[in-house]
């Protein structure tokens, strides 16, 4: 096993906002409560809320994109219930010239498209923040609004009517009004509308632009945005990409040459299917929506066996259906890449909310023992990069690789300036065509590394049976104790080999810290956000964030934990599942735990409070 010196990794892996490493500076905390001076690299937060089905998602995304186009950083967090009409949706969007890691609780400008938005969120509006609403839609009494909060009644419906627009364009008026109040130029929205509606013709484009402008003008005519303390300004920096975790996984897979994607829709993994389908012809990808998740994973295994890079994606329930085939991929030694986007269970659970409750399940998924690699990226940049490595590992070791995400990572929008260097594609060992077709090929040859080259069907030589049964070296059924012992050990040896080449564990923050946080997956984001708030208050905290969870980097984690003054485990489940894994692998117990299983992501403010309470 390669000796990995932790101190070294501490120096090279520090706060990075996914923009590469070696940045020892902790970015300034961008959001003190109350005052929000954009010129001092701080942030503005906006939230739109309304009835499910009233276009909250597209409104939020358009708003967010106005800022990434203006060279700003964005983090956008969406909440919605599992139904198509009714219920409440909200999009919380945070904008800053400084790097952003996660959402925060507070809202500088709240756009209420219904009364529920006001009821649910007005307490989160910052002291000198504002509320925009249509007075014809909902009644908000002056004494309901917190002291210091300004309210901006804008009659979206009436403005639409006066400008001969369609009722569905109300949100466009609201967007225009929001941008005006933040003193942000309208041209980005203008361009985005053009792009988004160009298929629908010039008339639709023009009408939408007219609505946005009408909202913008109304705000400027009836109120004085210069007096509103929250504003945003484009930077000189180039436009940033804005994408969700699911998009990052999908595009990362495409960059790795994944040409086959099969899935059955399941929230919150479903958008991967539509991202792949959107680009199928352009990038030469075959996308199959299957009859169920069993079929999805089996299609994927079939395509991979035939020599095409393939993947599937699902959530916990669908993953449960895939377990038998996962185990088969283990024994048949077929490369498999699988994305599991967690949501709260058990059973159907809470489909549109987030969870880190499947870790132990994924670790133990599939009957009997077989080698697998489990990765858990913490943000979109890691998602994009790690899935490319996932394909390389799957094909070099002929194993299933499972990437674990969750609703929070997969459906939040992150701004990214670029994804860095391209990962080389490594298709793993494929035997040369020598010999004759009627000669058996030792596909399952027992080797020291456990890895044995494969052939692909259609090759002129290398005939074998890929087998779900225990088998001998050519894939024929064999159940002798000697062969069983040899083949089982051969497969599991691959993990030992794999361990030697996994990258070092990511450690963020200073070497010396009063408290060390242990977290995995998407929880990295609010922890980093909390860390920089604490740093500003002179409290030094660091974070160990293992992204390769199996095989587990036991030595590195052990050495980190042993050095730490006080340790705190933060994860989104009840049983402290990463804590269980760490105990199993290192025999160490983490001092304190901050666990949450309510379907919501952690908020930096709560982490700050928790950490302070422990010091």
């Amino acid at each position: 096993m390669k000796e990995v010196v932790l101190e070294k990794s501490t120096q090279t892996r520090v706060l990075s906002n996914g923009n590469g490493h070696a940045n020892t500076e902790i970015s300034p905390e961008p959001q003190p409560e109350g005052t929000c001076d954009f010129n001092k690299r701080r942030c503005v937060t906006w939230m739109v809320g309304g009835e499910a089905g009233s276009g909250i998602n597209s409104t939020g995304e358009l708003f967010a994109r106005c800022f990434t186009r203006g060279g700003l950083n964005v983090f956008a967090y969406l909440e919605y219930p599992s139904l198509i009409r009714g219920g409440h949706n909200s999009y919380h969007i945070r904008v800053s010239p400084a790097p952003l890691y996660s959402q925060i609780r507070t809202i500088d400008l709240l756009l209420c498209l219904n009364r529920e938005t006001f009821d649910l969120h007005h307490d989160d509006v910052t002291q000198n923040g504002g509320i925009i609403f249509d007075p014809e839609d909902l009644e908000i009494l002056e004494d309901e609004v917190k002291d210091g909060v300004s309210w901006f009644p804008v009659p979206f419906g009436k403005i639409v009517k006066e400008n001969e627009g369609l009722d569905v364009m109300r949100n466009m008026v609201a967007l225009g009004a929001s941008l005006a109040l933040l003193s942000y130029p309208l041209n980005y929205l203008h361009d985005l509308i053009k792009h988004q509606f160009e298929d629908k013709g010039e008339k639709v484009v023009d009408l939408n632009i007219k609505m946005a402008k009408a909202g913008y003008d109304y705000m400027n005519e009836h109120f004085d945005p210069s007096k509103f303390p929250h504003h945003a300004k484009p930077t000189e920096e180039p436009a940033r990409m804005l994408l969700s975790g699911n998009q990052a996984f999908s595009y990362g897979a495409m960059a790795a040459g994944c040409k086959f994607f099969a899935a059955y829709p399941m929230t919150p993994a479903s958008s991967t299917l539509s991202v792949f389908a959107k680009h199928d012809e352009e990038l030469g990808i075959v996308v199959r929506q299957t009859e169920d998740e069993l079929s999805a994973v089996l299609h994927t295994i079939g395509a991979s066996y035939a020599g095409v890079r393939a993947m599937t994606a699902t959530s916990g329930g669908g993953f449960a259906l895939m377990n038998e085939a996962l185990s088969m991929a283990g024994i048949a030694e077929v490369p498999l890449v699988l994305l599991e986007v967690q949501r709260p269970g058990p059973g159907t659970g809470m489909p549109t909310w987030t969870s880190q409750g499947d870790l132990q399940y994924v670790l133990n998924a599939g009957h009997d023992e077989f080698p697998k690699l489990i990765m858990a990226p913490g943000d979109v940049k890691e998602a994009y990069q790690m899935i490319q490595h996932a394909f390389n590992y799957a094909e070099r070791y002929h194993i299933p690789v499972i990437l674990v995400s969750d609703k929070y990572l997969s459906e939040s929008l992150y701004s990214v300036d670029d994804f860095g260097e391209k990962t080389e594609i490594d298709r793993g060992p494929i035997a040369a065509e020598t010999g004759k077709i009627d000669e058996d090929f030792p596909r399952y040859q027992v080797t020291d590394s456990g890895i044995s080259p494969r052939t692909l069907p259609g090759m002129k030589t290398g005939r074998y049976v890929s087998n779900s049964y225990e088998h001998n070296e050519v894939g024929d059924l064999e159940e002798t104790p000697e062969m069983r012992t040899a083949q089982h050990a051969k497969r599991l040896r691959k993990i030992e080999e794999l361990k030697t080449e996994l990258p070092p564990v990511n450690v963020y923050g200073p070497d010396e810290a009063v408290l060390s946080v242990v977290a995995w997956g998407s929880t990295k984001a609010p922890v980093l956000e909390a860390m920089r708030r604490l740093a500003k208050q002179g409290i030094t905290v660091n974070l160990i964030h293992p992204t390769y969870l199996y095989p587990f980097p036991a030595e590195e984690v052990k050495s980190f934990l042993k050095k730490a003054k006080k340790t705190l485990l933060i994860e989104g489940n009840h049983n402290a599942q990463l804590g269980q894994l760490i105990r199993q692998e290192t025999l160490l117990e983490i001092d304190e735990k901050f666990l949450q299983w309510d379907g919501r992501p952690f908020y930096p403010g709560e982490i700050v409070e928790k950490i302070k309470s422990l010091l």
């Binding site: 990434t68 180039p238 940033r240 990409m241 804005l242 994408l243 998009q247 495409m254 960059a255 790795a256 040459g257 040409k259 086959f260 099969a262 012809e281 352009e282 990038l283 030469g284 990808i285 075959v286 199959r288 299957t290 009859e291 169920d292 069993l294 079929s295 089996l298 299609h299 994927t300 295994i301 079939g302 395509a303 991979s304 066996y305 035939a306 020599g307 095409v308 393939a310 038998e324 085939a325 088969m328 994804f419 594609i425 077709i437 009627d438 058996d440 692909l456 069907p457 259609g458 090759m459 030589t461 005939r463 074998y464 049976v465 890929s466 087998n467 779900s468 894939g475 024929d476 059924l477």
Partner: protein
Amino acid sequence: MAIELKSLESNTFPSWCPGCGDYGIWMAIKQAMTQMDVPQENYVVVSGIGCGSKMPHWIKTFGFHTLHGRPAPLASGVKLANHDLNVIIVGGDGDGYGIGLGHFTHLMRRNHNLLYIVENNQVYGLTTGQTSPTSDEGYCSHSTPHGTLEVPVNPIKIAVSAGATFVARGFSGDIQHLTSLIKQGVEHKGTAILDVLQPCVTFNKKNTYQWYQERVRKLEEDKSHDITSKVEAFKAAEEWEDRINVGLYYQEDRPTYEDQLPQLQKGPLVDQGVVDVGPVLNRLR
């Protein structure tokens, strides 16, 4: 160049019971392969789990012995990845009509260019003789000692209504006829379903060679049978107790799935290079 029978023979001999209907199917598959102009390495035999699903081990070409009930989706993945391959799915009635019925049905909607042979012995052989989805009503076994109350699955009717473009039935006791059906099935452009009546000499004491021999009639000898008519296929599939029809029930000319995918028109997916994702990413800006 045609394949020689000898070239298809494996080093091991099948583990089926003496007299098992699977031998006839095995022979017919190999015979058919020697009669077609397809290179040996282009065949992929994908099977489920069951006695008959051990087939890939005894036909010398590429094979995948998958899970119980799951050969169809895996074979579809193989076909989409490399549509130049000749994919033959082999599995039993429990595999295809029981645990895998959902996959069986959806496979036919898609019309991949492949052949699915179902070795239908109306019993679970490998698990020592339980009732199967095609067991006759009232069939007694140690899982249904009082006789099954369920009506049997009618695979021909399911295949015709689900959209299979080639639906046939063979009998493992007539290897020559079965060979011809396998050949037609491989050569058919689209999903070919071939249900093969296959006696289980160990566990099924009702549907024996003799029982079948007394009932099978070749549809091609019935001049009035119209293979383009779904209604006639249904009618022919209704017959069972006194007369069982073998031969081609139904055939339809419909574009295959692979033919309809623009991505596959420049050749099999497996041969295509990686397309740069950069321009797509730039649109996210």
